[in-house]
Amino acid sequence: MGDFSQAFQIAFNLLWSMDVELYSIVYLSLKVSISAVLISCALGFLIGAALTVFRFPGRRVLLILFNALMGLPPVVVGLMVYMVLSRSGPLGVLGLLYTPTAMIIAQTVLITPLVAALSAQVLQELHHEYDEFFRSLQLSGREKLMTLLWEGRFGLVTVGLAGFGRAISEVGAVMIVGGNINHVTRIMTTAIALETSKGTLSLALALGIILIAISLLVNTSVALVRSKAKEAIYA
C-alpha cells in the first residue's frame, strides 16, 4: 500500500516548498491550542490543587465529576459553546462565533477538566507527604495550594502536555465554533477533516504527519527544558 509512503512524500514536499498557506494554518493551530492550554492549566492546576488542599462537602463529588468530564465529547463542547456564542445566544452580541477566540474558548472548556482531574491525581500523592508539615507551619489554604503546585511542577508538566495533546488533535469542537473558514479559522485538524471528506486521503495523512511532527517538536522542547531543571535530582 503506497498510501503511507505517498503521504510522507507529500508531507515532506509541503514542508519543503514553504507553502505559506500551510504555515499560516500551522501557526493558527499552535496559537489556538497553546492559548487554550495555558488558560486550562491556569484553571485546571488551581482546581486540581484546590480539590486536593481543601476539605469541603461535595469535594469527592467534584473530583468524580472532573474525572467524568475528561470524557466530555468535543462535539458536545462545540455545541454548547456554539449555543452560547451564537447570534441568538446569550453572548451573541460579542460576535465571537467563527473566530479563533471562539476556538480557544471551546478548547479551554474541553481540556480544563482533563487538566484538573490529572493534576488532582498528581498533587494528591504529594499532599499525603506534605499535609501535616504544611499544617504545622499554619500555612493558609492559598499558601498550601501554591506550594503544592510548585512541589508538583515536574508531574504537572506531563499533565499540561496531555492537555496540549488533546487540544492540538481535537477537531469536533473547533469545527463547530470555528467553522473551518479558509484563511480565518482553518487549522490543521479541520483541514485534515476537509481533505478526508474530499477523498484526498494522502494529503490528509500528510497533514496528520506534519501535525504529529509539530507535537513532537513541542514535546521535545518541553523535555529539554525539563531535563535542565534536573527533575530526577529534586524529586
Binding site: 506534605y130 501535616e132 504545622s136 507551619l137 499554619q138 500555612l139 511542577r153 535530582i233 529534586y234 524529586a235
Partner: protein, 260 residues
C-alpha cells in the same frame, strides 16, 4: 547559637500561655483505639521527655498536641488555643502556636537553602533579611557547604538537622520534637541538645520524644511514659528514674519484655 530575633519581645508575650491539658483523649483509627485514654497536663514551660516502646503512640501524642489530628473523643486545651487575641498575634507575627519536627524529616523538592527560606517567607520575615537568616540557620545545622544541594539528596542526618534548624528559625512558643537526634552523630546530638536547652532557657516549651535514655536523663524536667496508648507515668525526672511506677516502664528502661 539559637537565632535570637528581634521578635524576642513578641515571643515572650506569646509564651504567656496556659498549661497544655489532655482530658480523656481517645483516638481511634478504623475502629482501633490507638490512643486509649490520655489524661495529663504539661506545664507551659520546661522540657517534657516522652518515652515509650515502639508503637506506643508517642508520635500520635505529639500530633494530637500540635492539633494535626482531632481526638475521637476528649479534648486538648491550653496553650494559645483558647486565647483568640494571642492566637491572632501569633499569626500576625508569624510565630506559629507550636512547631513540630517530624520523625521522618519532610523535605520540599528544593535546595537546602530554599527549604529554610520557605519557612521564613511564610513567617513574615522581611525579604531582605531572609538570605542572611538562612545562612545563619545553615551554619547552625553545619550545612553551609550543602546549601545548594537538593534537600532530598542530603544524608539522613543532614536532613534531620535541616528540619530542626528550619523549625527553630520560626521561634515557636512550644517545640515538639519527635526523635530529633535518632540519626545524628555524637557532635550533632550535642549541638542539638544545646539548641534545645537554649530554647528552653528562653521559655519555649519543649516536648521531646526519644528512645535515648541517656538523653532523657540529661535533658528531662519531667518524663511522660506512654504504653499502648496510655500514660503510665508522668513524673519529674528524678522521681521517674527512681521509680518508673509500672513494670512496663521498668522493662522499657531495662530493655526487656515486661514480666507478668
Amino acid at each position: 547559637m539559637l537565632e535570637q530575633t528581634n521578635r524576642t519581645s513578641t515571643s515572650t508575650a506569646l509564651r504567656r500561655c496556659k498549661p497544655l491539658q489532655f482530658k480523656d483523649v481517645v483516638l481511634e483509627i478504623d475502629g482501633v483505639a490507638l490512643i486509649r485514654q490520655i489524661n495529663c497536663t504539661l506545664d507551659s514551660s520546661g522540657k517534657t521527655i516522652v518515652l515509650g516502646p515502639n508503637g506506643a503512640g508517642k508520635s500520635l501524642f505529639l500530633r494530637l498536641l500540635a492539633g494535626l489530628m482531632e481526638p475521637t473523643s476528649g479534648a486538648i486545651t491550653g496553650g494559645l488555643e483558647e486565647q483568640d487575641g494571642l492566637r491572632k498575634l501569633a499569626q500576625d507575627t508569624g510565630a506559629p502556636c507550636m512547631s513540630l519536627v517530624f520523625q521522618n524529616p519532610v523535605m520540599l523538592r528544593r535546595t537546602a537553602f530554599e527549604n529554610i527560606a520557605f519557612v521564613l517567607r511564610h513567617h513574615q520575615v522581611p525579604k531582605h533579611e531572609i538570605s542572611s537568616k538562612v545562612d545563619k540557620a545553615l551554619a547552625i545545622a553545619r550545612l553551609e557547604t550543602r546549601a545548594h544541594v537538593p534537600a532530598r539528596r542530603l544524608s539522613g542526618g543532614e536532613q534531620q538537622r535541616l528540619a530542626l534548624a528550619r523549625t527553630l528559625m520560626i521561634n515557636p512558643y512550644a517545640l515538639l520534637l519527635d526523635e530529633p537526634s535518632a540519626s545524628l552523630d555524637p557532635l550533632s546530638t550535642a549541638i542539638v541538645e544545646d539548641m534545645i536547652e537554649r530554647a528552653d532557657a528562653m521559655g519555649t516549651k519543649i516536648v521531646l520524644v526519644t528512645h535515648d535514655i541517656k538523653q532523657a536523663k540529661r535533658m528531662a524536667d519531667d518524663i511522660l511514659f506512654i504504653h499502648e496508648g496510655r500514660v503510665l507515668a508522668h513524673k519529674s525526672k528524678r522521681a521517674f528514674f527512681k521509680d518508673p511506677g509500672s513494670k512496663q516502664a521498668q522493662a522499657y528502661l531495662d530493655g526487656r519484655v515486661p514480666q507478668e
